[in-house]
Symmetry: C2
DNA sequence: ATCTTTTATGCAACCGATTGCGTAAATTTA
DNA sequence: TAAATTTACGCAATCGGTTGCATAAAAGAT
């Protein structure tokens, strides 16, 4: 007895024929429509299972004009943070019958725009974005907004038209990090960050300045280093720091991996961490507790953020607009103190 | 003049009406069908653009029974390797008009199976998988295979039915890594790895044993440590290593991040790397060159692997079966020697 | 000028599920 | 028992492209 030939997909018409009922009845039974007797529903479901029926999602989408698919665009996937965010998103999405399409902008506005277009063509029911490094113009989101497709930014956000934002309190986190360094006695604190047009970096920078101000230390622009926070940039920044006179005694980097690259290079040049320079990173990447010295950092609840994003989006799609779009949701983040920043007193 | 109401999507019928031609002509013009005069094609395309037409992908998929979507299931996204693989995949896929649906199995066979089901329901044209840690039974792939959906495994593969495999030569890489340690004078080399049912780990282990044999050193099972290669496992393994007498003098770990966690813990206990124990990792994660000492490792061309996977899959889908499925493709990988393994001689 | 080919286009069925509306049968109410 | 409801189901249009087949018009051949 050969297995069923493929290609011959079972449809509701086949089930209807086998049971001598109408396709409508099959369709309704399969979705527990109240107007079909439970007896009939039972029979239909059994028959469907027996015949190996699977619903044709395209026919459904075509008719319903809804895809139950959400698009996600992130700069890069290669961090523990992003992986956690995605895991959180997938969990809540799947629980609610939604699927995710994920893509990377690789930190360029150009690829981001092309990804948005693809998502648009794919007719996602909602779009979720963490912005690329160099996105400055947001008009590539206009087709999304004009077609009333809900748009949610997370982490790297933009206050753009009707988009919702989900972030941590970067200002507070930055302030905490730098206050901690100041408490360790640091006076000359370098802040390494990225494009200040990105909220995450601007807010952390504001937190940095606020902390300095709280301690009556004037902000010195030469202590602000801006780059793309890559590993290579971290190494270069180390050179820049080494050339400063007097040497800085504190370093707050807006990203763990870059902090580690920088720290490693500083150590290669004989700098002692934290004795000479105390260091604080950002993100609490797992690696931060395995470098020497272990890195003080800001912990980020990626998984939770992912869940909140999807919950918010789905409740919007359902019309349960308890949490309105065009709103900003702020999640917690906390300072984790490890060896890299604690000076013996 | 208010902007177009949404919801009223432009269809080929609207274009046909506006131009007083048939929908067939519009459809054919839009795909450059040769039987439509270039004059008409031109007009149709202009009109389409002017009216803001976008093709309805569901109608198309429903009719064509093809989704131009490929499913990708990976254990976790949070590594540089995976991120690179995905980037490579996306590039080639997009160039060929395919989209990717990506999901994480989070290293469990259970979630992997549920992801496969989701992909199946989504009617992906092809499925790409890197197996979870504990997948031992492969029957969840049967619906895929029975429906003639091409299945490609990469990195963590299985020789299962008609699936194709794309891997690096893990045996050779393992052998190279361990031979390198032996050349440094190591005699008691620990190998930390994971589930040997996974090809990547089994093959590396075979390479390890081969290298030992080449140097006439008998394999001692007590030097084989198996765990899930998590950071925590790396720490625990360090304790285990510290309790060995005599102390091992070499360590080959099947994963960089775990190697780093282990190395870090060993250092916390006063072990000098590489003097006391020389260490080699696997994957060439960027972080490996920023730890102290910098980690010797095996470099993996993730981006290239991703591209090869998709190229192979698409050429199969196109029927250009130059590279047959049910085949194994082996890519290069090479040893990168850094400080962690080089003993002063 | 007539016949054959080629070119350009239209017709209409089809993909598979959804759903508003209508109605026969069963049940309840008067 | 007749009338009013309720229950259970079917009809047929619809979603928006795709494509095999037919055909009118134009071009070429004889």
């Amino acid at each position: 007895m050969p297995a069923d030939k493929n290609n011959t997909e079972v449809t509701i018409y086949d089930i209807a024929e086998a049971l001598d009922v109408s396709p409508s009845t099959v369709s309704r039974s399969l979705k527990n429509h109240s107007s079909i007797s439970s007896d009939t529903q039972q029979k239909v479901k059994e028959q469907a299972k027996e015949m190996g029926y699977r619903s044709n999602i395209f026919a459904k989408n075509l008719r319903r004009k809804k895809t139950n698919t959400l698009g996600v665009i992130v700069p890069k996937l290669n961090s523990n943070f992003m992986s956690s965010v995605i895991a959180g998103m997938e969990k809540v999405a799947n629980e609610n019958g939604y699927n995710l399409i994920i893509s990377q902008s690789l930190e360029t506005a150009q690829k981001e725009a092309s990804n948005v277009e693809t998502m648009f063509e794919s007719r996602v029911d909602g779009l979720i974005v963490s912005l690329a490094y160099d996105t400055e113009d947001y008009s590539h989101f206009d087709p999304i907004i004009e077609n009333n497709i809900p748009l949610v930014f997370f982490d790297r956000v933009a206050y753009y038209k009707s988009a919702a934002n989900i972030i941590i309190d970067n200002f507070k986190a930055g302030q905490q990090a730098v206050t901690h360094l100041l408490k360790q006695g640091c006076k000359r604190i370098v802040h390494m960050t990225s494009n200040l047009a990105r909220n995450v970096y601007e807010d952390r920078f504001r937190g940095y300045k606020q902390a300095l101000e709280d301690y009556d230390i004037p902000f010195d622009p030469k202590y602000l280093i801006q780059n793309d926070l890559s590993n290579q940039a971290g190494q270069q920044a180390a050179q820049q720091i080494l050339s400063m006179d007097p040497l800085p005694d504190g370093l707050f980097v807006a990203n763990d991996t870059c902090a580690i690259a920088c720290m490693s290079t500083l150590q290669d040049h004989g700098i002692k961490i934290p004795e000479d320079i105390a260091v604080v990173g950002f993100n609490n990447d797992p690696i931060s507790s395995f470098v020497n010295p272990k890195l003080t950092t800001i912990n980020y609840h990626g998984n939770e953020m992912g869940k909140v994003v999807i919950r918010n989006l789905i409740s919007h799609l359902n019309g349960d607009n308890n949490i309105a779009m065009t709103n900003t949701i702020i999640l917690n983040a906390e300072l984790i103190i490890r060896e890299s920043s604690v000076k013996a007193s």
